[in-house]
């Protein structure tokens, strides 16, 4: 069971788009909650919450063509990954490091996404290490005169690495079909934006490379979608990269190993809850009469069933076995 089964077969109107976005966001949030609960029950060693980043993921994912575009995601992009085709089972097997984990059969920690079949490029743990890979994927598209676009996500923290500079510069020189998306939650673990940079917007750096940079409310999926659509079209047309900065908020600690009470107040987190995209977008759907109690109950129950199924599946899935631990260091030379 996966998100695709609850998504509309084709999106032709804004209402369908909005509902599908909400479905992706809700499933991501409920998976997040389940992972946290599993972690607290002693299942799994490492949860990386996405709560607060769902609107951004859902917003941009529906602006791309998941049948041909590449995703080189930020680690909190669960909603987008679901749209790309990762299933709840995939996600919880990845979380528990079980053999069916598509990202690496349990070799990688959680949130180190990857699936070649789905055109999701593999993430290491090294912040921004993936950004130049995304540029390489975009270079290959141009080289082969293919029309696919590469979406590359990273955090505000990651934007400080030299990788991002060299990558953006390279992409700009070759006008590559890529969209860079900085998901700015104003924290690199505990380090606030003011200690990471002396500017308000990461997007302002785009001008220094020669392509547009734009700031968007990352808590609003439709705003992100619109921004992403423009950037993706630009890339697809051959006009080169765009940098989108989505301002988001991370509701949970950095990971299950973090204690966020050390660096931010509960009041701050509560205040930010008011902007929670799950809440505000739900309210919008209610107002637009795209959602009512009945359809919401049905949706929540569909989602719960999917999450329950995934958790069951993952908890019972096989471990990586010792012999397999030694495999795939090198490929077969032909």
């Amino acid at each position: 069971m996966n998100l695709q089964t609850f998504l509309s077969p084709s999106i032709t109107d804004i209402e369908t788009l909005e509902l599908d976005m909400y479905r992706a966001m809700l499933l991501a949030r409920r998976l997040d909650e389940r992972m946290w609960a599993l972690n607290r029950q002693g299942h799994g060693h490492f949860a990386v919450p996405c709560a607060g980043h769902e609107a951004t993921g859902a917003g941009f994912a529906f602006a791309l063509d998941t049948t041909r575009d590449y995703l080189v995601p930020h680690h909190r992009d669960v909603s987008a990954l679901l749209v790309w085709g990762l299933t709840p089972r995939d996600i919880l097997c990845h979380y528990l490091g079980k053999a069916p984990d598509p990202a690496g059969a349990g070799r990688q920690m959680y949130a180190h996404w990857g699936s070649r079949r789905l055109r999701i490029y593999s993430l290491s743990s090294v912040m921004s290490g993936h950004v130049s890979h995304a540029v390489g994927i975009a270079l290959a598209a141009k080289y082969r005169r293919e029309e696919n676009v590469t979406w590359c996500g990273f955090g505000d923290g990651s934007s400080s690495k030299g990788d991002v500079h060299e990558s953006m510069n390279f992409a700009a020189i070759h006008k590559l079909p890529i969209v860079f998306c900085c998901e700015n939650n104003q924290l690199a673990i505990s380090v606030p934006q003011s200690k990471q940079m002396a500017v308000e917007n990461v997007a302002d750096r785009a001008a220094g490379y020669g392509f547009p940079g734009v700031v968007v409310d990352g808590m609003n999926p439709l705003a992100v979608h619109e921004c992403a659509r423009v950037a993706v079209e630009r890339a697809r047309r051959g006009d080169g990269p765009t940098l989108i900065e989505a301002k988001v908020y991370r509701y949970m600690p950095h990971t299950s190993n973090d204690d966020d009470t050390r660096y931010r107040t509960r009041e701050e987190v509560e205040r930010a809850r008011e902007r929670d995209p799950l809440k505000t977008f739900r309210a919008q759907l209610y107002a637009e009469q795209l959602l009512d109690e009945k359809s919401e109950t049905a949706l929540e129950s569909q989602v719960r069933t999917a999450v329950d199924d995934a958790a069951d599946f993952a908890l019972n899935a096989p471990e990586l076995n010792a012999a397999d631990t030694f495999k795939q260091v090198y490929g077969v030379v032909r």
Binding site: H45, F46, G97, K98, A99, A105, G106, R107, Q108, M109, Y110, H112, S124, S125, V126, M127, S128, G157, S158, S160, K161, G162, D163, A188, I189, S190, V191, K195, Q196, M197, N257, D258, R262, Y263, E319, L320, N321, A322, D324, T325, F326, V329
Partner: protein
């Protein structure tokens, strides 16, 4: 005082900073959070944001800025949040810090300490488990220490801060809270370049450091019940290495077992094995032997994978039995 390694590091940092105004800390999350392992917990409150600098995710700049500051007389202690991420600063460490004194004929120098948690066994998977000592041990101009006890953690950290050259101070994550011991309140230094015989023995010599020292000691204890007398040596200083102590032990036991958690090929055991074969060859009654992590790109996240990778007392004891029986 009886303390854990992490407490010892924290206390030593605090007292060295109190003693010497030139000493400051920079790294990711070292300030308000007190470090992801809490190695710097409380220091921000005592010394303020100028002496405990929370940096952006910029390993290259953390080291590069520290090199510059060290050059003009400060004594930076740079923290790399996980040793796995030191590779972004590799160029700064090996091309700049390691070569500065030599290339300037001693005119400019780099008294810099780089602290970083390394090692596996804590479910850290491929990128939060690596051992990084072997790579850096190839670069003359830097020094590398890896304490395995609270006593040495203090003595070597003080030696590193006092040293006129760049020192990589490696903290095995698993020892942080697991290993406790007596730490004198007085000032003392454990000189860089000296190994220590931790357990005397006559049948074979086990050379280890970091968490593997403790696994080796456990193995030696097991072996003792089987009448195999293993000498266990804590290398502590990985560059320079204390060859005299190593050769002396081989002269006594005539058998060398080198243990490290890092992968085998070109791990530190390579140099140790080769040196023994070069300079203590006639003392050897058996081949040198290595017990190391397997030659895999990383420690898997999955626990079975992780256990498959990690070296432990049992694997060491098994090898030691074979070596003793040779």
């Amino acid at each position: 005082m009886h303390k854990s390694i992490i407490e010892t590091i924290r206390d030593t940092l605090r007292s060295e900073m109190a003693r010497d105004e030139r000493v400051f800390i920079l790294g990711e999350d070292v300030g308000v959070l007190g470090g992801v392992f809490r190695a710097t917990d409380g220091l921000y409150n005592v010394f303020g944001a100028e002496r405990v600098i929370d940096t952006p995710i910029s390993e290259l700049a953390i080291i590069g800025v520290a090199i510059g500051a060290a050059g003009v007389g400060l004594r930076p202690i740079a923290e790399i949040e996980f040793a796995d991420f030191i590779h972004s600063a590799f160029d700064q460490i090996v091309s700049e810090a390691a070569k500065l004194r030599y290339r300037t004929n001693g005119d400019w120098t780099c008294p810099l300490v780089i602290r970083t948690p390394y090692g596996g066994g804590i479910h850290g998977a491929i990128y939060h488990s690596q051992s990084i000592e072997a790579t850096f041990a190839h670069f003359p101009g830097i020094k590398i220490v890896a304490p395995s006890t609270p006593y040495d953690a203090k003595g070597l950290l003080r030696a590193a801060i006092a040293d006129p050259d760049p020192v990589l101070y490696l903290e095995h994550k698993k020892t942080y809270r697991a290993i406790k011991g007596e730490v004198p309140d007085e000032d003392y230094i454990v000189p860089i370049g000296k190994a220590q015989v931790k357990r005397a023995g006559s049948d074979l010599s086990i050379f280890a450091y970091g968490m593997m020292l403790h696994e080796s000691l456990a193995a030696a204890e097991t072996l003792a019940h089987e009448d195999i007398s293993a000498e266990v040596i804590d290398l502590r200083s990985l560059l320079p290495m204390d060859w005299e102590t190593i050769f002396e032990s081989v002269r006594k036991t005539n058998r060398a077992l080198i243990v490290h958690e890092d992968t085998c090929t070109m791990g530190l055991g390579a140099e140790i094995g080769a040196r023994i074969a070069e300079q203590a060859f006639l003392d050897l009654d058996a081949p040198i032997m290595r017990v190391t992590g397997p030659d895999l790109p990383g420690v898997p996240f999955n626990e079975i994978g992780e256990q498959t990778f990690m070296v432990n007392a049992q694997k060491i004891a098994d090898a030691a039995r074979r070596l003793a029986a040779f």
